[in-house]
Amino acid sequence: MKGRKCSPFPYKIMPLNEYAVTIELGDQIDEIIHQRVKRLNDALEERAFLGLVEIVMTYTTLTVFYDPTLIAKAGNEFPYSFVCSYIKDLIESLDDRSPTLPNLVEIPVCYGGEYGPDLDEVAKFHGLSLEEVIQIHSEPSYLVYMIGFAPGFPYLGGMSAEIATPRKHTPSLSIPIGSVGIAGSQTGIYPISTPGGWHIIGRTPLTLFDSKKSPPSLLQAGDRVRFRPISKEQYIQWKEGKR
């Protein structure tokens, strides 16, 4: 099903299965497309239909999960058709106003040393000093395009190409929780301890995922993130203060 002319942006609605549809809003990683995904997400959260279960944002799509039984009980013989036309009407009622201001989250990071064992390698790879790598990494505000791969793991966009570094040849067996790394042109934070091939340049004392908190994830799709360099002492103090 394709969007009509009167929608504020082009879109396609496609079924995934009996209880999920995807709305495709583009085919590349792009801030404008992300903002449309976010805008539609917020509109659907505000004006949820009976039977809506959950919504998941990705780079270019929004997936809507629903309960077909509830929708059928409300008199819709084909739940998928109902959900499609609901979303279509919603999109066409949207104006092209700018999105709400994003939530800015500051993430303290202790760069280098034992917490960032691969900082030297990244610096050498680019012929930069350690301070320059830290400066370049902590300069921009990054966009959280989506959360996925692991609980609370943010897919961040906006890292400078000056420090883009290919993955390691041999992955580390265990990357500690809170590690901040670089893989290709991506940067990310590990919310859980896991094996991985990322170059680890620092570590944050913040907890990115806590199942006892609501919401359980520190970051959400649409947030902005800035890394703030801290010393090892500050890192330790932070950790102790949290305990």
């Binding site: 496609m14 079924p15 995934l16 299965n17 009996e18 209880y19 999920a20 995807t22 085919d27 590349q28 990683i29 279960v53 959950e54 919504i55 998941v56 944002m57 990705t58 780079y59 270019t60 799509t61 997936t63 999960f65 077909p68 039984t69 059928a72 084909f78 739940p79 998928y80 989506m146 959360i147 996925g148 791969f149 692991a150 609980p151 609370g152 793991f153 897919y155 919310p191 859980i192 995922f209 199942s211 919401p215 359980p216 994830s217 959400q220 799709a221």
Partner: protein, 341 residues
């Protein structure tokens, strides 16, 4: 009220219908692999269909019941026995204190579900008790059962006296089988080397015509590298028309994705929330229980259906489960059996 784990079996976990509402935070849905058997096992003992139960994999556990209770075992037939006597599946069973449930050889399928009146009493984590062992989340201590664990049970919906009225309890017999039984027509058509139905996946059109033909004409072997997260299939390679740069998207239980080597992977209950391989097909909801009972080494064939067909099958199965719930409630309350449709 509790159960003593005398032997944990190969991989026995506490499960429910999964963790819904948290996928946007990257939280895996999880839950029972065979949701039909899981839900039905709960209904048979008078529980709500989502109460915490046990998922047993291939080699069953040995469990001692420390009080009188009612259980039901559904799904794959792993030869359940009570005090060394075979007991039927898909039936409520009254168990006396001290009775031991254990399992024998695999007859059919590979996952059995044990529901106990009241359900297992464990904390909800993000709205669910399902065990996600990879992140040590939920269930009983976030892990598979171990020898010596004691699983606390919740107070059942009906009193034990109420349950007892519907069983002909014979003195000195440790076990009694309810006269309530299911018409096997309501069960998914479980079988070895099954054919499962699918609707087209998001990137179906990006695959070569040869790949589309192979998908419905070949049989695929389920590799030994298959678990609750996904089944790796081995068979004729499914290739794209041309290489495509993919951006990560949402994936579901039953999504068939294809990595560059062309060997498909079917994503199962413990899949991640998003993935970056092209998706050729999506197994329909009512056939997921059949898939959940497939063992490594078996083969699969695939058949395409329309979304409308899949949707109507989904609604029909839900209606069946609702009817069973009513039927069982009435039975436990009054002993009256109403006819199955």
């Amino acid at each position: 009220m509790s159960i003593l784990v005398k032997h944990p079996g190969l991989f026995t976990t506490v499960q429910d219908q999964g963790r819904h509402g948290y996928q946007k935070f990257g939280v895996v849905v999880g839950g029972a692999m065979d949701l039909f058997a899981f839900r039905m096992s709960n209904l048979l003992v008078g529980n709500d269909q989502g109460e915490a139960g046990l998922e047993v994999t291939l080699r069953g556990p040995e469990l001692e019941f420390l009080a009188d209770t009612v259980i039901a075992i559904c799904g794959g037939d792993l030869s359940p026995m009570l005090d060394s006597k075979h007991v039927p599946m898909w039936r409520p069973i009254y168990i006396r204190k001290g009775c031991v449930l254990h399992f024998g050889a695999i007859q059919t399928g590979c996952r059995a579900y044990i529901a106990i009146a009241g359900g297992i009493d464990v904390n909800h984590v993000l709205g669910s008790v399902s065990t996600y062992t990879r992140a040590n989340l939920g269930g009983f201590k976030g892990r598979a059962l171990q020898k010596g664990d004691i699983l606390p049970l919740k107070e059942p919906f009906y009193t034990i006296e109420k349950y007892r009225q519907q069983f002909n309890l014979i003195k000195d017999s440790s076990v009694s089988i309810s006269k309530f039984s299911l018409n096997h027509k309501v069960l998914p058509p479980y079988r070895n080397n099954p054919c499962v139905r699918f609707v087209r996946g998001r990137q179906y059109d990006d695959f070569s015509s040869e790949a589309k033909r192979r998908l419905v004409t070949s049989s695929y072997r389920v590799s030994s590298k298959s678990d609750r997260m996904g089944y790796r299939l081995e068979g004729p390679a499914l290739m794209l028309q041309e290489p495509k740069e993919m951006i990560s998207e949402t994936i579901l239980f039953g999504t068939i994705q294809v990595p560059p080597d062309g060997q498909p992977i079917i994503l199962m209950a413990d899949r991640q929330t998003t993935g970056g391989y092209p998706k050729i097909a999506q197994v329909i909801f009512v056939d997921l229980p059949i898939l959940a009972q497939v063992k490594p080494g078996e083969t699969l064939t695939l058949q395409e259906v329309s979304l409308q067909v899949a949707e109507q099958l989904y609604l029909k199965q839900e209606a069946t489960l609702q009817f069973m719930q009513k039927r069982l409630r009435l039975y436990w309350e009054t002993g009256v059996l109403i006819n199955q449709k």
